[in-house]
Structures are given as C-alpha cells and as structure tokens.
C-alpha cells in the first residue's frame, strides 16, 4: 500500500522529471509528505481494526461519528471550552512568573544560588504529587486545580528562561548603557529580543505540557472539562467517545499552535531569514 502511494504521488514531486528511474531520489514537497503520513496512520488504524474486537478499537469512521454526535448535543464544546480556559489561565500564570523569576535567576548570581535547590526539587516533584497535595490543602476547587497545573509548568519555564538570561549579549547591553536608552527601549529593543527564542520554546513546550496536566487535574477533582468526561467514558468503556474527545482537544491545541504561536514566531524572527 505504502509503495503504491509513493508511485501514485510521484507526479506531484518537485523534481518529478528525473524521478522515473530511481525512486529514492524523488523529492516530495513537505505538504504531500504530511498528507501521506496522516493517510498512512489512518490506513494502519483501519487495518488494525480488522484484527481486534470492535469495542477495543473502534474504526476511524465510528470515532468521527461519535465526534459529530458529541458536538451535536453541545456537551463537547462546553467541556472543551472549560478545559481551554483552565489551560490558558494556568499557562499564562506559569509563563509570567516563570519568565520573571528565570530572568532574575539568570541575571543575579545570589538569587540563583538561593533558589536553585528549590528549583531542582520542584522540577523533580511528580505532577501527581503536586495535584494531590493541592487538592488536599486547598480543597477540590478551581483554585487548587489551576495552582496545581501552574506549579507543574512553572519550574520548566524558569530553567529555560534562566538559560536565556545567561546567554544575553553583554556587548549589546553596553550599547544601551553608553547611549543611555530609556528603560522601555532597553527592555523591548535590546534585552527581550535576545530572549524571544527561549520564550517561544517555553510557550511551545508549555502549551503541550499544561493541557495534559489539566486533564489529569480534571479527572481527579473537577466535575466538568475534558478530563472529567474522559473519566466517565473510562467507567463506561466507551473508547469511541474517549478518542473523539481527545481528537477534539488536539485539534484545538493544534489550532493555537498554528494560528497563534507560529505566526508570532514568524513575526519575532523575521530578522533571521
């Protein structure tokens, strides 16, 4: 199947003129490679369905039907929305505090020395421990949920931004010092642009990590959100719905990535191209 696919797509390749002789030299455009890989995964899924019980692995079209069904009764959108709000709040909190503390620790050795030990501890605390402790200490409420997610993400941002702050080019800071630029320009035109790559990397990995932890938090102690629903489907052994909800949320996260982070990255790094 895979081979037939390749042959079929050869005419769309960029250098298809010479491709007839050697299959290995074909250059597919990235878009076609992407499409081919998605189609490949769906094909493997469909084939696998043939070998297992229908309950354990529903066929792709059954998942799609479940997705349409759950969207239709409005429940899915509600729970995805609730989860998304939790993701955005805890993501923002973790970024704001993480970036600030990261810069401070990267810039001032005393602060770094004072907080480094706590940071290592925080990095190694299992997510589940943080979540359970937050719920035990602050009750099964929204505050504890958001706090637990934020604490999970926060140290990763700090480590990343500390690295960035350490790598800041002193020569460029001297320029802003000698020309006595005002604090605003120093920050936004000289200092922060050097940290943008680190900021974007933090945002990327942050988004991926935060939404996964939000689901666990919801499963353990909330009565709405995608994680809560997944828990219920788990009890009913409803695998089609579990997959439908997962895909719905993956689509949302991918939309944020490609509609928000990628364009932002492009804007912030034009000067490199």
């Amino acid at each position: 199947m895979g081979k037939a696919l390749l042959l079929h797509q050869a005419p769309f390749g960029q250098n298809s003129g010479t491709s007839g002789v050697k299959l290995t030299t074909i250059n597919f455009s990235p878009l076609w490679i992407r499409i081919a890989s998605v189609v490949g995964v769906l094909a493997i899924w469909q084939i696998s369905v043939e070998f297992v019980e229908a309950d354990v692995l529903p066929a792709p079209y059954l998942v799609l039907r479940s997705l349409i069904y759950h969207t239709g009764d409005g429940e899915l959108l509600l729970h995805v929305g609730v989860t998304l709000i939790r993701v955005l709040i805890s993501f923002t909190l973790a970024m704001v505090f993480g970036v600030t503390l990261g810069i401070i620790m990267g810039r001032f050795k005393q602060w770094d020395a004072a907080l480094d030990g706590i940071l290592v501890l925080a990095l190694n605390l299992p997510a589940l421990v943080i979540i359970i402790l937050c719920y035990l200490w602050f009750g099964l409420g929204e505050f504890a949920a958001i706090l637990a997610v934020t604490i999970n993400k926060f140290p990763v941002v700090v480590v990343n931004m500390r690295e960035g702050a350490r790598a800041v080019d002193q020569d460029l800071l001297q320029v802003s010092e000698v020309f006595r630029l005002n604090p605003r320009r120093r920050l936004f035109q000289v200092y922060l642009p050097q940290l943008y790559p680190y900021l974007l990397a933090s945002a990327r990995s942050g988004l991926a990590l935060v939404w996964k932890i939000v689901l666990v938090v919801e499963l353990l102690g909330r009565s709405d959100g995608v994680g809560f629903k997944l828990g219920i489907f788990f009890q009913f052994f409803d695998i089609a719905s579990i997959l439908a909800y997962s895909f719905a949320f993956i689509i949302v996260v991918m939309a944020i990535e490609y509609r928000l982070i990628v364009p932002l990255e492009r804007r912030l790094t034009v000067w490199r191209t």
Partner: protein
C-alpha cells in the same frame, strides 16, 4: 574639556591572583573641539581608555572629568565600538533611530544614511549587510545625535580604501561643523596624521603616553598626500620604535618635528 588623570587601571584576571595592569600614569587634557587620535600597539589600553571616557567602565584609580562632571553625568557621547554591535532584530534605520530621543526628527536618519551610501539598505536587517556596511551603520548610530563628544574605536578598519577616505572626509566635515570633540583610536599612523589635531602615542602594556604630538598640517589635508607622508617618515625617523610603543619618555624634542 576632558581631564584624564589615570594613575592606575587594572583588570582582574581569571585563575591568577595578580591583576593585569593596563594603563599607568596617563594624564592629559583634551580641549573642546579637539580631534585627538590615540595610537598604540595592541594591548596598550586604547579601548580601555575609551571605555573609561564613555563611563562604561568606572573602575579606576584616578579620575575622568568631562567639563567638570563624571562621564555618565554630562551629555551623552557618541561611541562607535570596535565591532559594530548592531541589534540584529532591528533594521538599519531602526538601529540608528534607536539612540535618538523620542520625538526627534527621524528625517535626519534617512539623510545620514544617504550621506554614507546606505539609503538603499535602510529597511534591511544587519545579517544581510557586509562587515564594512555594518561599520558604516554603527558610525551613523554614533553621530546621529550630534554628540559633543565622539569616541571612535578603529572605525575604518577593514573598509576598502576609497570608502574609508570618503568617510574620513565626512567625519572631518561633520566634526568641524559642530566643533565636536573626538577621541579616535587607531593603529594606522597615516590615518591619525591625516585626521587629527593631536596624536597621542601609547606604549605597550601597561599603557603610558610616550609622545604627545600636535599635527600642524593645514586643512584641508590630502589623505595620502605628501605632507602626511613626510610627517610620518619624520616621526618614524626620529623615533624608530614609536609604533611598537618602546620610545623613551622625555627623550623627544617635540618642537623639532612637525612640518
């Protein structure tokens, strides 16, 4: 007027207990509007001297006073560093505009870019410029604010000769028009003699002034002209080791040289 009284300038060294002595007993004044070149072998503390005058480096035994005030308290100087030090994320125009006060006329930026032949590159990022072009942008950034004091650290290094001469002429023009005080570091003696009212020669480390020479060639001078060439030969004849920084202090009769 800049009063420079350095009794000792040292740097701490990595892994070694003793400090590295860079400048010792450097005492001289620069009059307002004077074009002063500093010539010396590498490691003689030329850049350190500029950093002290600019106020970037405040750590010294002695004092630097500009019009009676500490360097960071007076007017903002224009400083062109040895490397261009442009912000890679700002275009050529933005890099120059960066140092202007808010509300200052930004038309001047385009005029200046035109003058130094970079008007076609105003919206280009530094990455796409050649090394020489980046230096020109750095020069533009240093002079755009029309500073009363201009500090230049080997500004025309690695530029090709015709562009360098063109820029030197413009620099002289600008400085005469605004009667700018200039401290110009170079190791090219001919360049120094072409540009300067006065050339200070530093010894090798630790830097001391070995010769303080007032250039009396009439302006406008010719960059590779006879007068400059004669003076250079004359100086080197009288002090064969001048450029290696090994001249005996006080062994020089300054009036004997000149034109």
């Amino acid at each position: 007027m800049i009063q420079i009284d350095i009794s000792l300038k040292t740097y701490p060294q990595d892994h070694v207990q003793t400090n590295l002595c860079v400048l010792q007993d450097v005492h001289f004044n620069i009059k307002s509007g004077e074009f002063c070149c500093i010539v010396g072998p590498s490691g003689s503390g030329k850049t350190t001297l500029l950093n002290l005058i600019s106020g970037l480096d405040k750590n010294l035994e002695g004092s630097i006073l500009i019009n009676g005030k500490a360097p960071t308290e007076g007017a903002v100087p224009g400083y062109m560093f040895q490397s261009s030090r442009l912000m890679p994320w700002l275009t050529v125009r933005e890099n120059v505009t960066l140092v202007l006060q808010k509300g200052a006329s930004e038309e001047r930026v385009d005029d200046l870019l035109h003058e130094i032949g970079l008007n076609d590159f105003a919206d280009v990022y530094p990455k796409h410029l050649s090394g020489g072009m980046r230096r020109r942008v750095a020069l533009a950034r240093a002079i755009i604010t029309e500073p009363p004091l201009l500090l230049l650290d080997e500004p025309f290094l690695s530029l090709d000769a015709s562009i360098a001469n063109h820029l030197r002429r413009q620099l002289i023009d600008i400085c005469e028009r605004r009667s700018t005080t200039v401290v110009f570091v170079t190791h090219d003696l001919r360049e120094a003699l072409y540009l300067a009212d006065r050339v200070l020669f530093l010894s090798s480390r630790p830097g001391k002034i070995v010769l303080d020479h007032f250039v009396e060639i009439q302006r406008p001078r010719v960059p590779e002209g006879e007068a400059v060439e004669m003076l250079k030969l004359n100086l080197l004849n009288n002090h064969p080791k001048l450029l290696s920084g090994l001249v005996e202090i006080n062994a020089i009769d300054m009036e004997a040289i000149g034109e």
